[in-house]
């Protein structure tokens, strides 16, 4: 079991998971999000390889259209 802080809220997962697995599980569209892990941006090309581990902090900003 791991516990991760996501947008200020604690959440638990059964095991470490990749950023892309996390985004898919939460229903995010990967082309519309910016993800920061422990304060550093995660490049989109690293979503598969970047693992979310116990006690990591994630900020996920999902954009909507309009401007």
């Amino acid at each position: 079991m791991i516990t991760v802080r996501i947008n200020g809220q604690e959440e638990s997962f059964t095991a470490a998971l990749s950023v892309s697995a996390f985004l898919e599980a939460k229903g995010y569209r990967t082309d519309r999000v910016a993800v920061e892990k422990n304060g550093a941006i995660v490049p989109r090309r690293e979503y598969e390889s970047c693992l979310i581990n116990d006690r990591d902090t994630l900020e996920v900003v999902s954009f909507v259209g309009g401007g």
Partner: protein, 212 residues
């Protein structure tokens, strides 16, 4: 454009008088990029031009369309012009001594970092959600030392007070209600888009003046 009956020195003194000299010297020395010159970007640029931001970098590939006039800072006689040129014209009517750089091109993953490398403050002002996210990822990954003020959610005529500014992380601020997407029957309208643009312009000003 009518005759200009004021001098650069008079403009400088007027800005100093309104803002105080210490504040104005920081505003005048700032370099700000505005990526996207639609409802958000044109309004951000007008605010920053009025307070005398030293160097504005204006970026858009598109031309003024009649459907832009409900919220964007262009005029009916500018329909068909490139937005970079139309906005240049309008900003120079506000302050003829502004230093402007314009790039009439589409911002992509490939050119974003090179395009923005001289700008300390960057406003994301695109329309498309994918482009917004792309610019945020590129700036935060490749341009350390910059500050980014982005926007998400300002369509329709919902509660004005739902538009807010929040600090996502040390160099990244987000304005908008974060939920209201432009859609059929919920279009982009001048008041709420301008509110969001004003949040962005004010956040840039706060950063220029050392507020975090």
């Amino acid at each position: 454009m009518g005759d200009i009956r004021i001098t650069e020195e008079e403009m400088r003194q007027a800005l100093n008088g309104r803002h105080t000299e210490g504040v104005q010297s920081r505003i005048s020395a700032a370099r700000v990029a505005v990526a996207g010159l639609g409802g958000l970007g044109s309004n951000i640029a007008v605010s920053l031009a009025r307070i005398g931001v030293g160097r504005l970098h204006l970026i858009d590939f598109d031309r003024v369309d009649v459907t832009n006039l409900n919220r964007q800072q262009y005029f009916a006689d500018q329909v068909g012009m490139y937005k970079t040129e139309a906005l240049r014209e309008n900003l120079l009517r506000i302050n003829p001594w502004l230093e402007l750089r314009t790039d009439c091109l589409r911002v992509t993953e490939e050119n974003a970092a090179a395009l923005l490398r001289d700008d300390m403050y960057i406003c994301e002002a695109f329309d498309d959600a994918g482009n917004k996210a792309m610019l945020v990822r590129e700036v935060l990954e490749k341009l350390p030392g910059t500050y980014l003020v982005a926007a998400s959610g300002m369509a329709g005529y919902g509660d004005g007070n739902a538009i807010h500014t929040r600090r996502v992380s040390s160099r990244f601020y987000l304005c908008g209600d974060e939920t209201t997407e432009a859609a059929a029957g919920r279009g982009l309208m001048a008041p709420r888009v301008a509110l969001c643009a004003a949040h962005q312009a004010n956040m840039v000003l706060r950063l220029i003046l050392g507020e975090r």
